[in-house]
Every structure is written in structure tokens, then in C-alpha cells.
């Protein structure tokens, strides 16, 4: 099973990075999502797989029984899942904003750090174009 999941991790990385190397903004964002899942799974698999023994202290016991899953990587991954979501949400909002501002979802169309100033003629009294 480890072998199978290791290949899955590798494939998630390959697909995620392939998308990260694309020119289309949405593909990059999808790539990011795949990478997030791949990395979480990587930590999970590398810590060692234990079938069906969650790190819970049993009824009437005071310490965690031997043979249960490792709690530490799980704590790390839990944090990572949440932060990964935050990053994806931000990346998507950014992609949307870039598309709205530049008018293209081609990364190579992003050639300036600032959008050109709006033409003076269409400026209203409030300064809004």
C-alpha cells in the first residue's frame, strides 16, 4: 500500500508541477491545489501507515496505546490543510483580480507591475474613471 500511495504522491507532484509551469492562470491555481494535496499525503505516508488505529486514548487508559497512528504528523497535516485552503482561496481571488485588471488569463500578458494610468479625459470629478 505504501508503494501505491508513494506513486500517487509522485503523480500528484508531477501533475501539480506540470500545471504550475503553464501559462494559463487557472491552470496554475489548479496545480497549486494538486500540490497541496500531494504534500499533505507525502507527510502522511512518510510517517508510516497504520490501518484503522487513530491516535485516541482508549476508555479507562491514561496513555496512548502502542501501535496506533502517529499523532504528530496528523497535527501538522491538519494545520497544513487549513493553510492550504487559505492559500488557494487567495490564489483564486488573485487570479480573478488579475483577469479583471489585465483582461487576459495569460501569465505572459502580465508585463507591468502597475496598470497604465487611466486616460485623463475620462476621469470624473471624484477621480474615478
Amino acid at each position: 500500500m505504501e508503494l501505491l500511495l508513494a506513486v500517487t504522491v509522485g503523480w500528484l507532484y508531477a501533475c501539480g508541477l506540470y500545471l504550475l509551469l503553464r501559462r494559463t492562470l487557472a491552470q496554475v491555481v489548479i496545480g497549486l491545489a494538486l500540490l497541496t494535496n500531494g504534500t499533505n499525503l507525502l507527510i502522511f505516508v512518510a510517517a508510516g501507515l497504520v490501518r484503522g488505529e487513530p491516535p485516541l486514548i482508549g476508555e479507562g487508559q491514561e496513555v496512548l496505546a502502542a501501535g496506533t497512528a502517529d499523532p504528530l504528523p496528523q497535527a501538522l497535516i491538519l494545520t497544513a490543510i487549513v493553510i492550504g485552503f487559505a492559500i488557494q482561496a487567495f490564489a483564486m481571488a488573485l487570479a480573478y483580480r488579475v483577469y479583471r485588471s489585465v483582461g487576459s488569463d495569460d501569465i505572459d500578458a502580465l508585463t507591468t507591475t502597475e496598470p497604465p494610468p487611466p486616460p485623463v479625459a475620462v476621469q470624473t470629478a471624484e477621480g474615478e474613471p
Binding site: 500500500m1 505504501e2 501505491l4 500511495l5 508513494a6 500517487t8 504522491v9 509522485g10 507532484y13 508531477a14 501533475c15 501539480g16 508541477l17 506540470y18 509551469l21 492562470l25 487557472a26 489548479i30 491545489a33 494538486l34 494535496n37 500531494g38 499533505n40 499525503l41 507525502l42 502522511f44 505516508v45 512518510a46 508510516g48 490501518r51 484503522g52 487513530p54 491516535p55 485516541l56 486514548i57 487508559q61 496513555v63 496512548l64 499523532p71 504528530l72 496528523q74 497535527a75 491538519l78 494545520t79 487549513v82 493553510i83 492550504g84 485552503f85 487559505a86 487567495f90 483564486m92 481571488a93 488573485l94 487570479a95 480573478y96 483577469y99 479583471r100 485588471s101 483582461g103 505572459d108
Partner: protein
Amino acid sequence: MGLVVAIAAVFLAVPLALLLPARRWRGLLLAAVPAGVFAYFVSLLDRAAEGRPLAWSAEWFPSLGVELAFRADGLALLFGLLIAGIGAFILVYAEAYMAGKPGAGRLEATLLAFMGAMLGVVLADDVITLFVAWELTSVTSFLLISFEQEKLKARKAAVQALLVTGAGGLALLAGLVVLGQAAGTYRVSAMSAEAVAGSSLATGALVLVLLGAFTKSAQVPFHFWLPGAMAAPTPVSAYLHSATMVKAGVYLLARLHPVLGDLEGWRPAVVSAGAATLAVGAFVAVHERDLKRILAFTTVGALGFLTMLLGLGTELAIKAAMVFVAGHALYKGALFMAAGAIDHGTGTRMVDELGGLRRAMPWTFAAVAAGSIGLAGFGPVLAFIGKEAALEAGLEDGGAAGGWALAAIVFSGALFTAAAVVLLRPFFGAERAPGHPHEGSAGLLAGPLALGALSFGLALAPGVIEGRLIAPAAAAVAGEPVKVSLKLWHGFNTALGLSALSVGGGVLLGFAVPRATALTGRLMGARWFPSGPKVYDWLYYGMQRLARFHTVWMQRGYLRGYIAVVLLTFVGLAWAALVRWGGSIERDWLTPAFYEAAVAATIVAGATTAIVHMSRLAAVTALGAVGFGVAIVYALFGAPDLALTQIVMETLTVMLFVLVFYRLPKLVDRGPMRRRLRDGAIALAVGVTMTVLVLASLGHQQGQPISSYFGETAYLEAFGKNVVNVILVDFRSLDTLGEIVVLGTAAFGVFALLRVRRWSR
């Protein structure tokens, strides 16, 4: 302690110079500080002569054996007296030279800072202390050369000087550390020549230290920065580039002579560098028409002369060097200050535009005459005694080095004399000057006249310094007691004959300049002639071109390009580590159940769909399949919390994707097939690497995992039975707080990105 106070007093005068109003007495007041230091050094002379020099030290980096250590032996005091004594005159001169112009206070303050640093160099007994002061002189010198910062030439010259001496400084630092390692101590006075000679590091230390000394003392081929530094105001040139800073390299050679002088490479390297510098400096000097540049090149020559003598390293040569250090500082200081007075009085420094000044500027004439006799090295001046001793040292040596030294002295003696004649010519003939020539003020003349007079006085009564100053200094350089008896008149001997010969030739040459030098001047001005400034420019701009080329080549501006480089580097490094590790990844795996295999297959299929399918809906669905597949893996292998979180977050992610993708255009895979294949290959390489890394890490555990600690204490100390939850909210609750902050920040970011309207079209 007194030594520290002396150095500190000079530094404390720096703010004073900035705060005092620009009055004529300010220069005098400030000069009182170095004058006091001078008097203090005089009081230390007897101790040094008796062989028990004043020393002071304090711990600095005890773990590294580095101390703040000062020691006033004969050599330190000789240089210290020159620095403080000439420094006092320079401050008075600077006040008069600036004549109330703005920035005079800044100039004097920087001069004082430089003076303090320079005293630090010569008094330091610890090589690290010495290095710090050494670098401080480079920095203050940079500030002084670029004093007229609005002039491009001054800025360029300052950068040039800083780069050359700074590069040498780096070499010196390495050299001093290596030397300290070889000697087993950073205390100069505690270093033994035997320990260094016996170390395998000796040659490295020698080469690096010599690089530092040669760059600072403007030895060929690093000499070119010194004439460039003449862009500085004249007080700076007179102080830094004649008497003090450029002599720091010579001082270093002298200081380390007892330790390094017996090494095999010392004599050939130092003598040849010195002799070449002496010849080049003297040769170029007669081709110059600007008073300050003539002086600058003769200074280069004089520094070569001193270096050469220290390279010879015989007792006589060392004595000659010590006398010449003092003699040169006196006559060259006088000449520089007088050159400034001429500039002040006539408005030019070009010798060809000047004539007959002796009537309008009699005192300046006296100073130049006194200095010129020193430059020619023929007459009752201190420099003459030094030069005669040097000739005798060359004659006595008998070896090849001595022969070369002798030839260089005779050759340059003639050219120095010619330069002296050139310097004197503006005072004779018909009166000629761009402006109305007038004599300088007392402040401008006090320094050159006093130094010129001293140059004579000490030569006529050498007994004043021979036993108290020169002998202890020479002893410090030689590393053993030296008897010194200076005499102006040695009778008619070979040395005097050689001197007379070269001076006679020089006088004739001096009258023939510039006709005699027309041809060689044209040669040196030729485009192909590899002069120092040209080579420097070539290197300087070449480096900028290289940087530009490199930047354009590396920084192409495509993020994916950088990502590809990072990924390939990672793959290379990871495989290098894996091959070196060489372990096996064969072990007992869990046998996958069919449903587990199906989940893995779902994830793989989802990811594949995401890269090949160009439909937005398909992409979102595929992403969902991957996310929920991963959640099932978590659930199957003992991580219910992760499964729950993953399901919640995945649901939100998919919803967000749907919302956003709906507003984005259709997916297109841009770029040619070739690039897609290339990117695919890179991505696949990383994927394979990751798979192998996962498998390798599974059987490779380093250290004791801390998980068991959490398992043991979760209930007993934190009263929770779900260990993962206890870690998150109790043991590592601050991390969780950080996570919440990240979420909040991202939320603000998303909000701002969606709300801001000003960017939209």
C-alpha cells in the same frame, strides 16, 4: 591606558571640529589635540629606547584569542610622532586652505577621524585590532578623497582608492588570520619567526599580507589609485598621500619584518615590487605637468624605495628606511602644502603656466626649495642621510637584490632630481600666472616652512633622533638591538659618488624637461599602453558588463523558467543524496485491499483529468475527486480528524473554484507542444524523485520521534484523549493561533482583491 586615551582624544575631537564655528583659531585649537599626543609620544621615547615599551591590552573576543592591544615601541612611536606632528600642522593648514568655505569643519573632522584610525594602526599590537584600524583608514580616506563630492572625478577617484585598498584589506584580513594561526597568537610582539617559518601556512600568510601592504602603499601594479587620489583637497593629499596612510603598507612590512622577513619569498617579492615601484614612480613623475601629480608619482617612487629597503632587510637597509620614513614625510609634506599654497596664490598647479613666482611668493619659494632639496636627496637634509645609507646598503649587500636596488636608487635619484628641478622652475624666469600671484596666509605657510626647516635641522643635528627614535625603531624592525649613528658627512666614498652622478644627471634632465620626455610621454599616452587606470577601468566596467550579461541571461522574467531551474536543481541534489545514501527501499509493505487500491486509482485519475482536460467543469470535478480521495485515505489509515477537516475544506475549495472559474475564460493550454513535453518531462522527473524519497524516508528514521511524549502526556497533563486535538489546542496552541492569523490575513486579502475597483478596466 595612556595610549588608549591618546587615540580616544583624537576621536573625541571629531565632534568638536563639527561643532566649532569656522574661525581661524579653530584650526589652532584642533591642532592642540595632536600636538598634545605628539608631546605624550615624545615622553614615551625613553621607555621604548630602554626596551620596555608602554603596552596596554584588554580582552575583546577571549574565545578567539583576540585582544584590544596597543604597544608603543620604537617603530610605533616613529610613525605615531609623524602622524601626530604633521597632523597638527595639517589641521592649521586645512583651516587656512579652506578659508571659511563651507565644509571646512567636515574636512577637519574627517582628518581627525583618519588620524585616530592611523594611530590605531601603528600602535596596535594585536593583528585584528590593527586590521580594524586599517580598514577605518581606508574608509576615512574614501571620505576625504571624495570630499568635493559634487565632482565626478573626486567620487571616481575615491571609489577607485577604496576598491583597491579595500580588496587589499580583504587579502590582509585573511593573511593576518592565517598568520595568527601559524604563529599561534594574534599578538604581534609575541609572534616568533621560527613558529611561522615552521608552519605550512607561512607562504599563504606572506602572499596575503604582502597584497594588503602593496595595495595600501601603492606598489606597482596597484600604484595607480594614488595619483588619482590627488582629486582630494591639498591638505588631504599632503597628509594621507605623503606622510601617513600610504605609509601604512610600509609600516606593516616593517612591523612584520621580524616575523616574515626570513621567509624565502620575502626578499625577492618585496625587493622587486619596491624597485619596480621606485623606477615607475620616478619615471612617470618627470612626465607630469601638474604639481600635485608630480608629487604623487614621486611619492609612489618613495614608497617603492622604502618597500625595497625593507625587502633587503639588512641592518643598514632598515636604518636607512627608518631615517627615510621621517625624512620623506618632512620634505613631501612641505612640498604638498606648498603646492597647495601655489594653487591658492595663482589659481593653477600646472608648472607650464607659472613662472617668476619667487618675488611674489618668497616664503612659498623657501618651502619648495627646502622640499626640493629633500626630493633630490642631495644636501643637508634628513632624506639625504637616508638615501646615502640606502646606497651603502645596496653596495654592502653584494647579491642580485642589492644590485637591482642600487640601480633603482641611482636611476630614480636622477629622475627625482629632475622632478625637483621641474618643481622649482615656476619660481624663476619671467613672472607668469593665470591670476595675480600672492603669498599665502600664515596658516598656509607655517606647515611647509616648519617641516622644511625640520628636514634641515634634524640632518644637521641627527643626534637628537638617532638614539632615541631611529635606533629603537630600527631595532623593532630588525628584531634585535641596533646601534645607530647618523652622520651627514661620510667623506668621499662610493655612495656619495653615485649620488653625485645621479643628481648631476638629474639636474641636466630637469632643465631638458619636457622636450626630453616628449617621446616617452607619447609612448605612455598611446592607446595600447597598459597603464594602471586603463586596466582598472577595463576590469571595473568589464565586471559591470559581466553582471549585466549574467543578469539578463539568468533573470529572464518568466516565473516558470525560475521554477524549472529550481525543480531541476532539486532533482539533481535529491538524486545525488540518494546515490550517496545508497540504502535499499525494499521492505515489508502493507498489502493493499482492493478498495484502498481503488481510492489511490481515483486520485491518480483525478489528477490526470486535471492536466489533460480543458473543460472548466471537468477540472473542478477532477480536483474534487482528488481531494475527497485523499480524505478517504486519511479515514482508512487512522486519521479521522484529518478526513473530517479535508472534507470540509475540500467542499469549500470546490465551491470557490466553481464560483471563480465561472468568471474566468475557458481553459487553454498555451505554448507549443515542444514546451509541453519539456515541462512534462521536468514534472515527471520531480514526481519520480518524490516517490523514491517517500519510500526511502519510510525506512529511514533519525533520532527518537517526539510523538511518544504527546501520547504519554496528552491525558495526564492536558486532560484530552484525542491526541491530535490536544497537540493542536494545547501543546502547540501558539502554532494554531498562527494558523488562524494566516487564515484571517488570507481572508482580508481575498476581501481586498474582490472589493477594490480602482484596478478594473
